[in-house]
């Protein structure tokens, strides 16, 4: 398994409560597809019907928001951490 994925609380029902899981894939899209084979339905929570990132979810590859990179096509280097985090209001 090439990368670590951090699972937010609201998605842990899919992963049997696990906060981090391993996955394979060269891009964010690949990683999500790989996760979905083992945790069916999880990708559909992160992506909408058109297959784009839902507007209230943030995905980070290591420290960087993928929307600053190439979105779902952002490259995920081996050994990196992908974090899925709900968007939160601030102050």
């Amino acid at each position: 398994m090439s990368v670590t994925v951090r699972i937010p609380t609201v998605l842990r029902t899919y992963t049997g409560g696990q906060a981090t899981v391993d996955a394979d894939g060269a891009t964010v899209a690949d990683v999500l597809a790989d996760l979905d084979t083992r945790f069916p339905g999880i990708a559909g929570r992160v992506l909408d019907e058109r297959g784009v990132l839902r507007r209230f979810v943030n995905v980070y590859v290591d420290e960087d928001d993928v929307r600053f990179g190439d979105g779902l096509q952002t490259v995920v280097p081996i050994g990196s951490t992908v974090a899925v985090i709900p968007a939160v209001a601030g102050g």
């Binding site: 951090r6 507007r55 209230f56 943030n58 928001d65 939160v88 209001a89 601030g90 102050g91």
Partner: protein
């Protein structure tokens, strides 16, 4: 805490304490309408949309108005409309609210306007509107059984959380960008909580806080896992303005935007007042204010888009420096629905506007207030805002916290020896 974590699917039975947050009855998703029971939840399990408090109000109209008017002289007069337990006014907290609505005739004259008011929230206990949201978040956090109050902050929230936790006698943990204004760092530290300076911008810290919140089940991050309750505190700004105007709504309001939550909730406050029969329905326009160096919502508004593309902030208005504003899409909805606009202004304009407000009205605003006044001026110049319609602008923070912003452009008129001769020589008479 462990019991309430399961409340979304199974209502308390086996003697577990039920959650009493006054008129709040559930949380509902703003995106898809999915409902869950009250609890420490903030993101919809179906679509990640933000959860918001749903209410069943006990009364309306005259009866409600009488109860409000007889209430305490702070935000708890609005307890019948907030997710707070009955008796909130008697628990130890810092009781923000009922700040001044100041008639700004001098500024209005200078800008060529007819009727202008400044809702001056720098008068709160820690000198920003954040005391309101934190007061409500603290009430919810206690009711939900949390024992630590925490937040990621652009500065003002740090002050408010540290102070409220101190008064409540609980621990606070606050994360701020390490390059924040010294005044905000020192004042937060003075309250004695845990203050962590992080090498990163607000958006980095926000992400970190989200990750910590997922692991520390006992910590109430006011603007993360307690966010639905927290955000409701901003409704009181809308309520107070309406009451202070004699139970009616203004025609135009200008509100600064960071996450956008405050703007969205002031509009929600106005809407509720109409629904509850406390004010007559009358059209109003909501305008949003950003600094150009962090203006993702203004950019989306101008481009006619309904998604907000994140930016990396670079502005002196650090309290508004959120590059990835979670409530941005809802700001766009409110502004478009009411016929308002979102505008952005340069840092130089912000400094000018701070001085303008101070010089004309004796109100010393922090950079966020400067952004708001400068935006007002720009909206008048573009014709988006009508100078003849009654307008309220929100000054949300105190200039003493951002002294550096104006330090190089103001100073003594003269520096002299303590003699009458020196005074006369300086040409001051």
């Amino acid at each position: 805490m462990t019991t309430s974590a399961t409340l979304s699917t199974s209502p308390a039975t086996d003697g577990a304490p039920t959650i009493d947050l006054g008129p709040a009855v559930a949380l509902s998703c703003r995106e898809c309408g999915h409902r869950v029971d009250l609890g420490p939840f903030y993101a919809c399990t179906e679509c990640f949309g933000p959860l918001e408090v749903a209410y069943q109000f006990a009364s309306s109209g005259e009866e409600l108005r009488a109860a409000i008017e007889a209430g305490p002289d702070n935000i708890w007069r609005w307890a019948p409309l907030l997710p707070v337990p009955p008796g909130i006014a008697s628990t130890p907290n810092i009781n923000p609210g009922n700040t001044k609505l100041i008639r700004a005739d001098n500024l209005a004259r200078e800008l060529g306007m007819k009727t202008l008011w400044v809702k001056d929230d720098s008068g709160n206990p820690t000198h920003s509107f954040k005391d309101r949201v934190v007061a409500v978040a603290l009430a919810a956090a206690r009711e939900l059984g949390f024992s630590v109050l925490a937040c990621p902050s652009t500065g003002n929230l740090a002050n408010a959380v540290a102070a409220a936790a101190a008064r409540a006698g609980i621990r606070s943990v606050v994360l701020v960008p390490s390059n924040l204004e010294q005044q905000k760092i020192l004042t937060t530290a003075a309250y004695g909580g845990t203050l962590v300076a992080v090498d990163g911008n607000y958006d980095d810290i926000n992400r970190l806080a989200g990750q910590i919140a997922a692991e520390q089940e006992d910590w109430a991050f006011v603007n993360v896992n307690v966010r639905p309750y927290y955000a409701e505190g901003s409704k009181t700004l809308g309520y107070e303005v309406a009451e202070q105007l004699g139970w009616r709504l203004p025609k135009q309001v200008v509100i600064p935007i960071a996450s956008g939550a405050q703007l969205v909730k002031i509009d929600k406050g106005f809407t509720e007042l109409v629904e509850l029969g406390l004010v007559d329905a009358s059209p109003y326009k909501v305008f949003g204010a950003q600094a150009t160096g962090c203006s993702p919502v203004a950019a989306a508004f101008k481009a006619g888009e309904d998604v907000v593309r994140p930016v990396r902030p670079d502005t002196i208005a650090k309290s508004l420096a959120i590059g990835n504003p979670a409530d941005g899409p809802y700001v766009l909805d409110v502004v478009r629905r009411t016929g308002g606009a979102v505008e952005d202004v340069s840092d130089d304009d912000v400094i000018d506007a701070i001085k303008l407000l101070a010089r004309t009205e004796g109100i010393f605003a922090e950079t966020a207030g400067g952004v708001t006044v400068a935006t007002l001026r720009k909206l008048l110049a573009t014709g988006a805002l009508d100078p003849d319609e009654e307008t309220v602008i929100f000054n949300t923070g105190d200039g003493l916290k951002t002294l550096d912003a104006i330090a190089s452009s103001v100073g003594p008129t003269a520096t002299i020896k303590p003699t009458l001769a020196a005074f006369e020589q300086a040409g001051l008479v």
